[in-house]
């Protein structure tokens, strides 16, 4: 049904555009000087048509189901009236099923008739919406065309409307973010109502599975997240030790030394790395790298767990190389050639120029490339699940199995869960910590960049 409505909107818009534009052309032929180009008159008419139509659609569509459902429930015979939320939902589901013609099992004839009436009303409502929408469109059209005149500032009006549309989109983006943050924050507080926050942040013992029984919720003291933070940091550091130098140096090579031919081949190849699904990296880590490290460690007489932080960190490092290299490459290329010329002109060699002029000038961009890579490393789950294990060991030894925040979130929320047990809620607390960490890191990076920024124009 909705698509008919939108088709009508589109047709109206096209017609309105041509009508508005040809009116403007007519003014021009009558020897008037137009304030705005004819196209703007057309766009103005479009806006006057589609804005009321879309607003009507949005309001009507949100209201109609709710109203019709209430009405349908009221028209049920007394014996079928729902008594609580659960039975209300069941009744509604039955009504909807009847309305859409998919009935499973026995539906009482009383309910069936109400369901059919519901379907009928819904169709009526759809048509009414369409007719009213067309009326709105026509009204908008009339209103707009009456305003058109040679002096009409259609350009300014359209400009303002465009600004409003863009503003609305940014508001949606911001509100979504704020909404997510607040819902996570809210659940986190619910978690902290059961487990004290100091125990969560500073506890050394993480074993949420033991705390699942109702009689011991939150009382087992098994929600100490320090091992997870340490594990995350350990893997992140290993990953950055791999990706930082390799990514940065390959970016320097690509930007400064490689011939255009090499560059045109090597850069896409590097970027393919970024497209490899993390699961693939994960089993590569688990099945190839981890055993390799294990046997290498044994050859050296070291005791290596079959799942180790080192394996996960190394592979993750490889995974995030393209994030570092591609972005760094872009910012290095953005450093103006005149700076390099200035340095060469002083007799600096290529590597001196890179070290003393190009990299400092590109520093802010390089820092943000590293930040992005760290965020990826901290947020990555699949590789760690497969290669580093699930055991929450508190260790700084890269040869042991560790676990990370994201892996635990994933473990806590897979399978059937009660949605208000401490175990489930702890995932929100972990998510919040992760979020807060990323935010803090961005903030610090911004400060670093601002302090050391070396402006060029």
């Amino acid at each position: 049904m909705a698509w008919i409505y939108f088709l009508v909107v589109a047709v109206f818009a096209v017609l309105g555009f041509y009508a508005g534009r040809s009116r403007a052309h007519a003014f021009r032929e009558n020897g008037h000087n137009l304030h705005s180009l004819p196209g703007y008159h057309g766009y103005f008419v479009i806006l006057a048509i589609i804005v009321p139509m879309l607003v009507l659609f949005a309001i009507w569509s949100t209201a109609e189901t709710r109203l019709l459902e209430t009405q349908a429930l009221h028209s049920l015979p007394a014996a079928f009236q729902p008594t609580d939320d659960l039975s209300r939902a069941t009744r509604l589901r039955e009504i909807h099923n009847v309305a859409s013609g998919q009935t499973f099992g026995e539906v009482p004839p009383e309910v069936r008739s109400v369901g059919e009436a519901f379907a009928h009303n819904l169709t009526l409502s759809h048509w009414a919406k369409l007719v009213l929408g067309m009326a709105f469109g026509a009204f908008g059209y009339l209103w707009a065309t009456r305003r058109l005149s040679p002096h009409f500032r259609a350009r300014n009006t359209v400009e303002r409307a465009v600004k409003l549309i863009l503003l609305a989109c940014s508001i949606v983006a911001v509100l979504t973010t704020v909404g997510i943050v607040f819902s996570v924050l809210f659940e986190t507080f619910r978690f902290f109502a059961r487990v004290p926050w100091w125990e969560f942040l500073f506890g050394f013992q993480w074993s949420p599975q033991t705390a699942i029984r109702a009689d011991q919720v939150g009382s087992s003291g098994a929600f100490g997240a320090v091992p997870l933070f340490v594990g995350t940091t350990l893997i992140m550091v290993i990953a950055m030790c791999v990706a930082g130098p390799i990514g940065l140096f390959s970016a320097i090579y690509m930007a400064e030394y490689a011939s255009p031919r090499v560059r045109s081949i090597a850069k896409p190849v590097l970027e393919v790395l970024a497209g490899v699904p993390t699961v693939v990296f994960g089993f590569f880590a688990a099945l190839t790298v981890a055993p390799l490290i294990r046997s290498a460690g044994e050859a050296l007489g070291l005791d290596v767990a079959s799942e180790s932080a080192l394996a996960a960190g190394l592979v993750m490092g490889v995974m995030i190389i393209p994030f570092v290299s591609s972005l760094s490459d872009d910012v290095i290329n953005a450093v103006p050639q005149s700076l390099r010329d200035g340095s060469y002109g002083m007799g600096a060699t290529k590597s001196e120029t890179i070290k003393k002029v190009v990299l400092p000038a590109a520093l802010p961009g390089i820092v943000s490339a590293f930040m992005l890579a760290i965020s990826r490393a901290v947020g990555e789950t699949m590789i760690v699940v497969m290669a580093a294990g699930l055991s929450a060991n508190l260790t700084f030894n890269p040869l042991e199995a560790v676990t990370t925040v994201t892996v635990q979130i994933k473990t806590l929320l897979t399978g059937d869960q009660e949605f208000d047990s401490a175990k489930t809620l702890s995932a929100f607390a972990l998510g919040f910590v992760l979020f807060f960490f990323t935010l803090a890191m961005n903030f610090v990076a911004l400060q670093v960049v601002r302090r050391y920024r070396e402006q060029y124009d």
Binding site: S259, P336, S338, L339, R340, D341, G342, S343, Y344, G345, M346, G347, A348, T349, E352, K356, V357, P360, A361, E454, Q455, Y456, D457
Partner: protein, 268 residues
């Protein structure tokens, strides 16, 4: 164009100064494009040589041959000879780093490094290991700033970024940066084209002063500027060195009709 300009600066140059740079039969190709054709010229020591000519005639190209900046352009190819003090600068045994320490360059658009004013000047001395210690480095920086006529304006803010200066100050900073390594030759590619008349006048004054100690080659689009600051002028057209001579002669009675046309503003 007013030809009754008074080229004041040329009078005190002895006619037979020593030749600093000698180019013979220099050709430059950018890929297939023959940008500079068989240029031969002698540039005298401790004097200002101006290159003039219409846009695209190869002035910058020739200038960049003198400190081998064309090496940084992949497609550029150079034939012929350029000697500085009788030594061929294109022999394989020559170290470009040392060459560029002897031949400084100032570019059309001021290009201070995004570093502090101090660090901008200290850049060259650091690379070439000229200063023995911190005090000596400071002396070099202050001395260069003074010689570039910038010290009074920036002495209280040597730690500010070089890019925070005005365009004219930036260009003088670039000149100070170039003279900090005590070069023998300074190449300037339209050093005033991004500056207003007052800032340009300051640069011109500076050039006249620097001439005492340095050999200066300047590319300029301003005939007045060439007349004011240079002792000798070379006119390029379509990659060819059309005419070279004492600035006075070039501007008052050029031998070539093309030079005449150009300096009277008939083309270019």
């Amino acid at each position: 164009m007013d030809l009754s300009l008074s080229p004041i600066a040329h009078v005190d140059v002895p006619p037979d100064t020593r030749t600093k740079i000698r180019a013979s039969g220099v050709n430059v190709f950018y890929g297939d494009k023959h940008a500079l054709k068989d240029v031969s010229i002698a540039i005298p020591e401790k004097a200002v040589m101006a290159f003039i000519g219409p846009s695209g005639c190869g002035k910058s190209t020739f200038l960049r041959c003198i400190n081998r900046m064309n090496d940084t352009i992949d497609i550029a190819r150079i034939t012929g000879n350029i000697d500085i003090d009788g030594q061929d600068i294109y022999t394989p045994s020559l170290d470009v780093v040392q060459l560029r320490a002897r031949v400084g360059m100032v570019f059309q658009k001021p290009n201070p490094f995004p570093k502090s004013i101090f660090e901008n000047i200290a850049y060259g001395p650091r690379i070439h290991g000229i200063a023995k210690d911190k005090t000596e480095l400071e002396e070099i920086v202050v001395g260069s700033l003074k010689r570039a006529g910038l010290f009074e304006e920036v002495k209280d803010r040597l730690d500010d970024s070089g890019t925070s200066l005005s365009g004219g100050q930036q260009q003088r900073l670039c000149i100070a940066r170039a003279i900090a390594v005590s070069p023998e030759i300074i190449l300037m590619d339209e050093p005033c084209s991004a500056l207003d008349p007052i800032a340009s006048a300051k640069i011109e004054e500076l050039i006249t002063e620097l001439r005492q100690n340095f050999t200066i080659v300047i590319v300029t689009h301003s005939m007045q500027q060439a007349a004011r600051v240079s002792q000798r002028t070379a006119f390029f057209h379509l990659g060819i060195l059309v005419e070279e001579g004492a600035t006075d002669d070039i501007f008052t009675n050029p031998r070539e009709p093309r030079t005449q046309d150009y300096i009277t503003g008939r083309f270019g």
